[in-house]
Amino acid sequence: MRTSPYIGLHIVIAILALLPFVLPNSFYLDLAIRMAINAVIVLGLNLLIGFAGQISLGHAGFLGIGAYASAVLPTHFNLHPLLAMGVGAALAGLLAALVARPIFRLKGNYLAMATLGLGIILNIALRNEAAWTGGPDGMPVPALGLAGFELSGDRQWYWVVAALLAVSVWASLNLIDSPFGRALRALHGSEVAARVVGVDVARYKLAIFVMSAVFASLMGSVTAHYIGFVTPGVADFFHSIELVTMVVIGGMASVYGSLIGAVLLTALPQALATFEGWETVVFGAILMLSMIFLPRGLVPTLAARFGRGA
């Protein structure tokens, strides 16, 4: 019974390995890549929201830091893309720590408000600093490569992103079932109980928040290189909300829920394109309905119905 979470990992790997051979064309391969990228971001965000119980409403801001680090640093400073990616991640982590340190000394969910503010400021900065960022129109991103080899074509990208996803699922499963992960879940369950057994609550919240910010930044870089172009929309408030929605719809505190949430919400805009002009209405209605009827999210609700752990 105790090994069951890892069975899912094997299924995920099997699906990832077979997918490119059954997808009919590059349109679907592209969709699969974007799903996988979102899934990695959502895994990190779910550790924060679902497991530690802290809400970030500005995660797209961290995505934006990574994406723009990968665009701006190689373009303007001739930095190697991999180095740029690292600088972006470090910056995102630093900023997250800077903002969250004072916040986590408080009781209550102030992180939501602080991240909301941070995300919007970052987005406005990206729009305004046109000399560096290209302003609202965005800017191109150079290709990602190492030692003469350049990552190109959807196939190559797919395998890189799929590997990232598989490793992220594995690492998330490991983390949850570890002393660190239990402390995280405990402080969500009862903060005072966690404290009296010796969990330094503020430090754990900070660690997981910084980690999820770094994850988001790295995946922001990956997205930027994959698409080859970046616009301020990546750091939009609405994008932050989309990411949170993926967590909640798939299922808070569920690793596989994160995957389902990312897959569904990445596909949704494609599906909604048929509603011409009504996309926003339908999207909003889906958010409301799923929260009203599946408040715990898809995977935990279904798992409970069929009597299996998730």
Binding site: I120, I124, L287
Partner: protein, 291 residues
């Protein structure tokens, strides 16, 4: 110098009044249910847009305004009945997402119904600016401030002298105890959504002649109203009003003296500073946790 400062002051306080009404809306709902209603901004948008729509369809302005308050209030009640009441006790994130979903539905419907253009509402009493020590004051600004003050006064009277108002205060203070003494807490929730949507819409109507309106103005207005509510100490009515005026003022002064490109960022820098240095806001209560 003085003229310029006065100019910033006028525009800051005028838009601040709108933030104050939005912040009051956040406060009312937060006190009744602990929900942070991210659809608050859409009520502001609905107020302005509906006033334009009803006025254009031939109604006299006062009637158009009244309808533009009542319809959003009805929408607020609908959201409460259909989406908030059924999920009582859900996690904060779920509630946030429900209200965001509601805001998307409202905004999307507005885009379909009114189109994506910008609209303007005629000023209530002429467009001739008043000269005050070299700065110009639009008559509409006086309307904004006057009506906002009247609305805040009415709300204050309602809370202090009416049974329904006192019931709402009691519920905010302790929901369980309020229920035990026989207060209909669902009724309180209902009323708080109606009032808060109506307040937001009023703010939207008042400001529309000065700033133009469009289907998507609600996002920023709502978020800034939220900043104002936090600045005032989330849950405190007086704080919401003061917070709203302050946010408007700081935004106008910052845009004028520091950077107009970063005008929209100023309230959000403010919210970070508040959280770092005075997390309970200006008037927020100090709470002790019981274990």
């Amino acid at each position: 110098m003085l003229a310029q400062f006065l100019q910033f002051l006028f525009s800051g306080i005028t838009v601040g009044a709108t933030y104050a009404l939005a912040a009051l809306g956040f406060t009312l709902i937060y006190n009744a249910s602990n929900v942070i209603n991210f659809a608050q901004g859409e009520f502001i948008m609905l107020g302005g847009m509906l006033a334009v729509f009803f006025a254009q369809s031939g109604l006299p302005l006062p009637a158009a305004m009244l309808l533009a308050i009542l319809v959003p209030a009805g929408v607020g009640v609908l959201i409460e009945k259909l989406a908030i009441e059924p999920v009582k006790g859900a996690e904060t994130v779920s509630l946030i997402i429900i209200t965001i979903g509601a805001s998307l539905v409202i905004r999307g419907l507005a885009a379909v119904g009114f189109g994506k253009g910008t609209f303007s509402l005629p000023a209530f009493s002429g467009e001739t600016p008043i000269d005050v020590l070299g700065a110009t004051l639009m008559p509409q600004s006086l309307w904004v401030l006057g009506v906002t003050a009247a609305a805040v006064g009415a709300l204050w009277y309602f809370f202090n002298y009416s049974l329904a108002g006192k019931a709402m205060l009691a519920t905010a203070c302790n929901r369980m105890a309020a229920q035990l003494v026989g207060i209909d807490t669902n009724g309180v929730l209902f009323l708080s959504f109606a009032l808060s949507a109506g307040m937001g819409a009023l703010g939207g109507i008042l400001i529309a002649p000065l700033t133009l309106t469009a289907y998507d103005v609600g996002v920023m207005l709502g978020l800034k109203g939220f900043v104002a509510a936090v600045l005032g100490g989330l849950g405190n009515g007086l704080g919401a009003v003061v917070g709203g005026l302050l946010v408007g003022l700081i935004e106008a002064l910052g845009a004028g003296y520091i950077s107009s490109a970063y005008k929209d960022a100023i309230p959000f820098v403010l919210i970070l500073l508040i959280l770092f240095f005075m997390p309970r806001g200006l008037f927020g209560a100090r709470l002790t946790e019981r274990v």
